[in-house]
Symmetry: C2
Subunit: 169 residues, 2 copies
Amino acid sequence: MELFEAIFNRRSVRKYTPEKVDDSLLHKIIEAGMYAPSAVNKMPWHFLIIRSADGFSAIMEANPNAGMLKQANVAILVCFDKHLQHDIGYGPVDCSAATQNMLLAAHALGLGACWIGIYPRQNRIDLLHGFFKLPEPIVPFSVISLGYANEEKKMPQRFFKDRIHDGKW
Amino acid sequence: MELFEAIFNRRSVRKYTPEKVDDSLLHKIIEAGMYAPSAVNKMPWHFLIIRSADGFSAIMEANPNAGMLKQANVAILVCFDKHLQHDIGYGPVDCSAATQNMLLAAHALGLGACWIGIYPRQNRIDLLHGFFKLPEPIVPFSVISLGYANEEKKMPQRFFKDRIHDGKW
């Protein structure tokens, strides 16, 4: 898929068919995340593949807007390592760029995906950190739900010229 | 350009030819930023196009690693509005996804680009906020330097299998 088609037509997809997402697609999506830029190229990320109903339940408990997981085939938890990030506050910035690469990759691979926010809500971070038994320095940042889309969504207008300031504010 | 080619071959480019970057390309890059996802679709971003030597100097003063601006043709300051973001801490996450879309777009348009970090360094934020006379709720997040590449860079290996955890950590 052409880059601008991916950027301009990607939407949050929350309804999925039961069809299984092949592992090779998951790995391609994660690889796309790993090729995001990161501060001082520290690549502080880790990726946890989640397929279990228990895991989905924990995420839905952490984020009340994660009901799309009832239908999702699989999800990926994007985390960063506090000890690997360039400095405090950089891990989330890096993981956000990685998450965006992954959403574009999922769309280009014919999948529907949705970004489920974990960071910066401390209660969500703590709940998932405990449930998935993450090592101490690992911080859960986002969950990407994945499946084959069972809904069609058109892209609304998101270009607003008044957000561009040319030369000065 | 195909999405995965853009993701897997994009690099930080810091050397540029003097050739002018056309305004139509700048607007396409900013439009790509505006099509990033944002928490609760708040789209809290603003984009300031900078071409002046004074503006470049201010950025280089804020970030000592921004020397590539001596050669850059133009730069875009990505900001968020504290009053528009979904909640505290979400603006940077949204702006990071927008910045990543913009870096991919620049690459696909044949330009070289580099992400110059501003957030989360408060001294950098304050300096640029003052220099560019930004309204109170506007927070500078990143600068993207742009120009036609005057260097060739190969993508190093960034895929590390030990960062993938399948099913459990």
